[in-house]
Amino acid sequence: MTGSGHAPFVINSALTVLPPAPLHATGLQDAAGLLLAFPLLGAAILLLGGKRTNRWGHLVGVAMPLLAFAYGVAAYVQMLGYPAAQRVRELTLYQFINVGRFQIPLGLRLDQLSICFVLLITGVGSLIFIFAVGYMANDPERRRFFGYMNLFLAAMLLLVLGSNYLVLYAGWEGVGLASYLLIGFWQFKNSAAVAAKKAFVANRVGDVGLSLAIMLMFAEFGTTNFTGVFGAVHTASHGVVLAIGLLLLLGACGKSAQVPLQSWLLDAMEGPTPVSALIHAATMVTAGVYLIVRSAPIFDLSADARLAVAIVGAVTLLWGAIIGCAKDDIKKALAGSTMSQIGYMMLAAGLGPAGYVFAIAHLLAHGFFKAGMFLGAGSVKHEMDDEVDMRRFGGLWKVMPITWVTFGLGYLAIIGVPPFSGFFTKDPIIDAAFGQGGTSGALLGTAALLGAGITSFYMSRVMFMTFGGERRWDEKVHPHEAPPVMTSPMIVLAIGSVAAGGFLILDNRLLNFLGPVTGVPPTSHGIWTRAGIATLVLVAIGIVIAWALYGRREVPVVAPAGNPVTVAARKDLYGDAINEGLLMRPGQWLTRLSVFFDNRGVDGLVNTVAATFGGTSGRMRRLQSGFVRSYALSMLVGAVLLVGALLLVRL
């Protein structure tokens, strides 16, 4: 049920929308391999070039995403020139796997959804890279850092550009690898290495889900191509569709740090701040949302899978919000916020066509304001001699005004104050949740509403503790404003924080653009809805409570004991404890049991056999007494037995 293509999109009630059939890419878009080639070239030069490239490596590292961004913009402009029904373009780089029935091309798909991501990744990415030039200026390993970041960029672009699930999976794995390398970038820090390992293992669990889903797809449909799968998914049984949906959800949980695979995100803050900004705020953690939205035709056919996605999203948005309330580390507080905002996106994606577009809109806006806030936190950390405990900040607005302003704009965006981004992108999600109807709709909507209030509370807490109040920092620390190489990206991102949401939502701009791919909400909502007003009320209450606790009162430098909820939130709501108890310790016991069994049982068996032989031979050798007469006796006995045997045979 696609429109004719050139009229503004008609909002219809069709729930199943098949994306238009892809055409072959032409013109500039045919060179889409460049999007992968640029960052890969950068990574190759920097990582293979070694120490020789140390002096100019960071310049190459920044140039590559800028080139990719330029190409992305050009491809986007070209796409705008096409009618809406002809915007899905595919091209094949080469035939990746060619085994009988199993045909996988290394194909790229340039459609509205992927181009959004391309622009986000390369655009925000370039800004963060520029910031990193200044942030990592004193780090001797800066070149290697940019090498890994380019590697990440290449993998992420492969993920969003892939035209089939297997190429997507290749990119999926690539970003997991890059995340591991970058979290553990400061290898000499044990905590960083442990965090990197934890992130990788948690991701792996999710990856199992995704790979099982792909295998199931191939088994059912004989193809992993988007076009093929989406065209054939209606022929599969309910159970299979539900299974695929749940497995895809598992994969998304791993990559996007949703419950139950959320434990790694806060630990991932061990990596350098640009990493946290790019990977763990703007792009990699949103890959899960991309997966769900891309697989829209599958989820459209299974209401249960959608409900599971929405529940996961709702639980996570509350989980992340509660954790964020109690963290004193500024980066961990922002990480909790990321977890929560992605929960919103997942919740929206779980609402079906009613929410896909808003999920993407929130994703794009979140990319701006969260990256901006992370860069602000990085700038603060850089100036405060790598201190991240907010209890030692305070009163920084006087010393770092640009950081304060950009961070503040991001803050206003995230809590959803109109006319900033968050208001335009978050409120439709809450509204759509309520709009689902029934108990599920009510519960989901309430959760989202509550989450908005808690968000405003903890983000205000961060603002007041960091920038407001009196200075609580040490005498030895002399913070001043960050250098221009660091503040310019922050300013650009702040502009995005302000304007992105409105730009996307007003005039149904994103809706019209993405509609052919994801489907559109059956009913349209205005800007001001009842849910939106309720949200604003809660937001205001949150700000007031935060002001009362942290703005007016003296913030203690040492964290007070806190009530049980605070203690729980400080411990990540016992997420780590649950993982340890449920999985890690039984796993350790299992290995110990296996080792015991192997040592005693298997080795024991083998050793017993050997010992039996040894013992038997030890006893039997006593027969060799050395006396000729004993030997003669045995000969005679043998002869007797022989004659006896012969006789027996003859009898």
């Binding site: 007494s625 006396f627 007469r629 004993s630 006796l633 005679l636 006995v637 002869a639 007797v640 004659v643 006896g644 012969l646 006789l647 003859r650 009898l651």
Partner: protein, 272 residues
Amino acid sequence: MSHTIELAGPAAETTRLIAYWILAIASVAAAIGMVLARKAVHCAILLAVVMLSLAVFYAMEGAPFLAFVQIIVYTGAVLMLFLFVLMIVGISAADSIIETIRGQRMWAALSGIAMLVLLCLVIGHAAIGSAAPASAKFGNGNVTGLANLIFTRYLYPFEITSALLIIAAVGAMVLAHRERIGPKPTQRELAAERIASGRSAPLPGPGTYAQHNAADMPALLPDGSQSELSVSAVLTFREAEGPPELPGGAPESGPAGSIASAPSESHEAGDQ
């Protein structure tokens, strides 16, 4: 052989029967005696008895050639070889009765009885018929018949057995050979050694003045003590035979004692 040993008629049968039974009992008795005798020479003699009775059996069974070969070669050469070695080793060395290996005698007896029983069963079950009718090969043409077989059908075993005999002879020579380490001493050197050693007379022979003249029996000196020089160093010196009872009382008393003491001192002084 010119005439057949096999006699015809019932008289021949009776003769054979009597001959068989006497010789059979004799040979079995001799065999048992051989196993039980303490002195090795007695064993050799009893074995000779067994072999001779077997020779008669061969003759009874129409193998005259074999009978004579048994007497000439087996009893006459091989058994004599045994006696020679007995002489070298020590003719009166008697085995002790005590069995050193635990359970050996019991198991030997058991196995022996078992073997006997089983083989008797075998005989009982086997179809041992009567003798084949007499032919020219048994008796008159025995040697010719044997020669025929040896040089036609059994040629290879014959040749190989002769090689075996040569090897045995050479092997015995090699085993008995003693390497000369230094140059062979000449007669002059031997004589000079003998004079220099202080004893120019030959060593006393074994068993002189002793009750037995075995090679391992030491000679007795005039004062009754044993002379170590009389027994070859190769043999184990046999103890426990004290001086014999001479008629006339103990050697210390009387002029025999004084005569014995003085020459013994000088004798021992020279006997270094």
